[in-house]
Each structure stands twice: as structure tokens, then as C-alpha cells.
Symmetry: C2
Subunit: 352 residues, 2 copies
């Protein structure tokens, strides 16, 4: 068996405080015997929660952090907290004491902290947040969903490369099909950015099918869909609100008569089953790709199940050496005809 994978967990991230994070972390430790946990945060509090929940066989290490980053804290402000649970967890990865970082916290702070402490991977122009769109039976990677609001074609090429490697290594898709999110399938359709990016992408060895439309997130035709972080973020938030609105209105309609309210009770488990499939909890979080370490960022509202899944996914990413493969394949891309590597940027961090 391989050596265990160590995951540094920012125990203070998330809307619900350390209870939920520690509970999810302990569940992950019980489920995966090859995962070692380092819980970072208020040590006394973490130990109290652990005692209440019962220890797993492999007892997690606890690293005390005096500070924590608030969910609504601006990235710049978060960087000033050198002793936050997030900063110390990222330090553990940099020092080689952990293989990955998981935080259910502030996305902008995670991005800023990891770029500052880990830098971007050699050959990658910009980091990207990859959203795993929870399409039942066929998760699709959509990236970037917020790290870079204004992109150049080269950035989308890097997103496609990173997304392809992730889909291959983590989701087992042998030859991930890549699309550029646009407004029509035909090659000429799109804006300046997407048309130029598609041309650049077609010169790479990636399996680029062409443009993807909004509906292709659900069509099963693509494994990886790339877009600039502005478009990705708008689509993501719009989609979350749309699904919620549909559910709320269906509930409202059903409760209008006694018969349908009773019928609604009968179908409620099926509704729940569907809702569970389409919540991001299924995967636990969004991988932050392109930074010099493994980082999974969970939704602030995550429950223990999301934390557990995020930790297990982080372990898979570390074990599959996704970042080393990204660096190697980015190098080969550059040999094919890439440009000089631009400066890493923190452009998006304050926008999250």
C-alpha cells in the first residue's frame, strides 16, 4: 500500500463552524484508512468536538490556530492574518507536512492564500476554480467559475488542460471531451475571447470538440467546459437560484390542495433523492487548479457529508499526482507552440 495521504483541514472554515467540519473529517478518517488528518483551528474546541463524536482509530493531529478568516472577509484582509487556520493549513502543505488543503471557507481567501504561499504551477498562466456540476450520472467540470474575471485565450487553454487532467485522473474519463462555453455550436459563434481560445485549443493535443452551449452542461457531450471566471460565476449562481426557485414554486403549487399535498408527501423522498444528487455535497467542493498544491474549496453552507467527500477527493487528487501531471503536460503544450509564461495574478481574489 502507498504511504498515507495527509490532508490539512481548515477546521474553522464554513458557515456552521468547526462542529460540521470536524464531524465530516472524522467520517472521512473512518472511511479511508489511508488518509491522515491534520485539523487546524482552535485546538481546545476541536478536541472537545472530537471527544463528543468519538475518535476514529487513526486519531487526527490537531494544529492550533489562534485566528480564523471570516466568510465575508476580503482576501486582502485575510492575508494579514498570518496565524489563521487557513494560513497555517496552507503552510503545512508548503512544508510538506500535508499533501492537500481542504477548506469550507471563503473562496477568495483560499485563492489569495494559496497563490501567495504556493505560487502557481510552472507553465500555468492562471489558477482556476473548477466547479463540478452535479449532473446526475455524469458530473461535468466547469472552469473557471470565479478566479479570473477577465481572461485571455491562453488562460482558457490552461483551464482546458487542467480540467482534462482532472477529469481523467479523478473521474476516470480516459479522453476527456473539452468544449468552450459559447452561444452556438458553430465555430464562428462566440465572442472575441471564445473564438480565439477555440483556435488555440485546436492546436493542442487535447480532445477539443468545439463550442459547448449552456445546455451542454447537461447533455453529456462534454467532460470539461471552459469559460472565463465571470461567465462561469454568473452561470453558477444563476443556476443555484433557478433550481431553488423551481423547487420552492413546485412546493407552493403542491400545497394548494389537500389531495396534492398528500400526494406531495408520497413523492417527497424522491424529491429529496433528486436534490441530494444535484447538491454539490456529492463532491464536497470545487478544486482550485493551477496553484502549487492541492486545494479543495467547499461551499460555506456545506454539511458534514460535503466535508467528508471533499477530503476524500483531495486525497484522490494528491494520490493521483494531478499537479505533477499538469506541470508535465503544460510543459509539452508549451513546446508545441505556447507563449512566454505570463505573471501569476490575483485578479479574481477580491471578486469572490
Amino acid at each position: 500500500m502507498d504511504r498515507p495521504i495527509a490532508i490539512a483541514v481548515d477546521a474553522m472554515g464554513g458557515d456552521h463552524g468547526p462542529e460540521v467540519v470536524v464531524e465530516g473529517a472524522l467520517a472521512a478518517a473512518r472511511r479511508a484508512s489511508d488518509v491522515e488528518l491534520v485539523l487546524v483551528g482552535k485546538a481546545a474546541k476541536i478536541r472537545t468536538i472530537m471527544r463528543r463524536l468519538g475518535m476514529p482509530q487513526r486519531r487526527p493531529r490537531v494544529v492550533h490556530a489562534e485566528q480564523s478568516v471570516r466568510m465575508d472577509e476580503a482576501p486582502k484582509s485575510s492575508l494579514k492574518k498570518k496565524k489563521s487556520s487557513l494560513a497555517l493549513a496552507a503552510d503545512l502543505v508548503r512544508a510538506g507536512e500535508a499533501d492537500a488543503l481542504v477548506s469550507m471557507g471563503n473562496t477568495g481567501a483560499c485563492l489569495a492564500t494559496t497563490v501567495l504561499k504556493w505560487r502557481t504551477l510552472p507553465g500555468i498562466s492562471r489558477p482556476a476554480i473548477a466547479q463540478i456540476m452535479p449532473v446526475p450520472g455524469h458530473p461535468v467540470l466547469l472552469l473557471d467559475v470565479g478566479a479570473n474575471v477577465d481572461c485571455k485565450p491562453r488562460h482558457l487553454v490552461d483551464f482546458a488542460l487542467m480540467g482534462s487532467i482532472y477529469a481523467r485522473e479523478v473521474f476516470g474519463r480516459p479522453q476527456p471531451r473539452v468544449g468552450v462555453l459559447s452561444i452556438g455550436e458553430e465555430e464562428g459563434k462566440g465572442n472575441e475571447l471564445t473564438r480565439a481560445a477555440l483556435q488555440e485549443l485546436k492546436r493542442t493535443p487535447l480532445h477539443v470538440l468545439g463550442n459547448a452551449e449552456g445546455r451542454d452542461v447537461f447533455s453529456g457531450r462534454f467532460d470539461v467546459i471552459v469559460c472565463d471566471g465571470f461567465v462561469g460565476n454568473v452561470v453558477l449562481k444563476f443556476g443555484e437560484a433557478l433550481v431553488q426557485t423551481v423547487f420552492d414554486h413546485i412546493k407552493g403549487e403542491i400545497s394548494k390542495s389537500l389531495l396534492s399535498a398528500l400526494a406531495g408527501l408520497a413523492i417527497r423522498p424522491h424529491f429529496r433523492n433528486f436534490k441530494r444528487q444535484v447538491t454539490p455535497d456529492e463532491y464536497g467542493g470545487a478544486p482550485l487548479l493551477g496553484v502549487g498544491g492541492v486545494c479543495i474549496i467547499g461551499h460555506g453552507s456545506s454539511g458534514p457529508r460535503a466535508v467528508e467527500n471533499a477530503i476524500l477527493m483531495a486525497a484522490t487528487v494528491a494520490r493521483r499526482r494531478v499537479n505533477e501531471k499538469i506541470v508535465a503536460e503544460a510543459g509539452r503544450l508549451a513546446d508545441v507552440g505556447g507563449e512566454a509564461r505570463p505573471e501569476p495574478a490575483l485578479q479574481g481574489a477580491d471578486a469572490l
Copy 2:
């Protein structure tokens, strides 16, 4: 009473052929005694359908058109058909024989044809397609959803102006609340375009609340949300597919057991009721704003009810003199500190 409003209907547009369009048109004629119809298309066919359906009291005029534009026809190709039902209907408006054009046809062809024949309104930099997002109880105008893939801040200002006047005159919102679609509420969030547009918008007399997020399409906080046509189009198509996916999966879940399948029968009318509220049929079509005439473009898959509603909305737009008000208020905006009026463009037509 005012003089009747004449609506030129492209009877050949849409996926379902003239049957559906003529049926919807006759329903509109029966419902609104102050609307006069001019049905443009294959005259013999239209007359056959009318005879079968029974004539309304005010018999529609029929104008024969030898050609028609296919739903998948490129805008450039559509412009070569000088005798298409779409071209002749637009000619009727230009000649003053009709007050508005309604087509359930090819959006790109409608845009190209009307810009060519009608030009853009004085003071308006770019036409925009405004989608009426069918949020139950509170329709929201989202524009542009596809006429302009690459926008400048000035274009978004024009979209906001046109959308505000439309929301006021057609939906009766006394002081429409305007938002810029972005990735966070705070003013600094967004991409280069949205940040600059928000600054320009705040110098106008429009009621600009600030940035809107994707979820604000449903939040009721805004009446008009502006974005570039690329983002709007992606969001629109993503949303349509998402709603369909949710419905399909709920149906699939419900059919998994006999009890829930029976329960599903009981709630089916409520589902339908909700679906009817959220289909674009409720409004019939998307207003094309900024061109020198009234044009409502329906979805190709529209049924008769959508055609009927599109015609009635077109009549309201004409009666409320929406375009004259746009020209007047654009003139006042320009006096406040606008720039020179750029050339009208057909940039988006081929992308639709």
C-alpha cells in the same frame, strides 16, 4: 378610442409552420378588437387555415410572400430573400402600413432584417434582444441576450435605458430598478465591462441599484438586468436546459414506485400550472429594442398561445409609443454627457 394598431405577422416563422401562427393570430384578433392583423406568407395556405379555423369579426388582411426564411438559415442568407414573409412584413412597418412586426422565426434573421430596413433608433448605439424572464408574479427584463456578443459600457447604458422604458410602459413599473449582471453586489466586483458600465450608469437619471447577481433574476429586487449578449445568451440557454433537466429527473424519480407514480398523477396539474407560468409563452416573445420599429421575436417552438400573447404585447408597445420615448430619453441622456453616437452594427446577427 384610439385608432386600431396594425400588426404585421410573419406567418411562416416558427418550427411548426403557419398553422400555429395563424391560429394564435386569430385568437389575438378575437381578444383585442383594436388590433388589426396583416398575415404575411403563402396566401393560399394562410387562407385555407383561416377558413378551417373560422374567421374573426375583423378579417385579417393577407399579404402574399413567395419566400420564407428557414429557422436555421444564416442572417446573411436571409437578407438575400427580398420577398420572404419576414422581409415583406418588415417592409409593411417601414411603409407605415403596420405598427409592429411579430415573428416566431429565426432571431438572427429578424435582427439583421430590421436593422437593415429600419436602422437603429437615433441615440441608441446597439439594438438588444430583451428576454422577459418568466419569474412567476414578477417578470424581469434581461438584456441583451444575444444581439451583441462583445459590448462596451455605453451599450449597457443604452440597454438599461431601453429596458427601463419598456418595464415602465409595458409592465407598469413606475420606476424600474436597474442592475448590472455581475459576480457580486459590491461595486468593485465584476469584469472590466461591468465595472465601467456601472460607473456610467450611475451618472444617468435611471434608477440604478448597482450590481445584480445571477440569483437576482429571481429575487424580485430588480426590474431590468443588463449584460452583454454573450453572457445573456449563455445564461438563457443554460437556464432553459436546467429547468428541463430538473423536470425530467423529477419525473424519472417519481415513476420509480407505484405509490409515487400515483401521487405524481395527483400533482400533475400543479406541475403544469407551474410550467405554464415559467414558459416564455406567457409573454409570447422577446422584444427587439433599439431598432426603428416595434418587433417581437417569439421562440421557434411557440404554440398558438405564445403567438397570441406576442401580438398583444406588440400592440401594447406600439400603443404606448415605447420607441418614441426611447428616442426622447436617449436624447436627454446624451445631453447629460453622452459620447458621439457610434455606428449601428450587425455584429451579433450571425451569432444567433
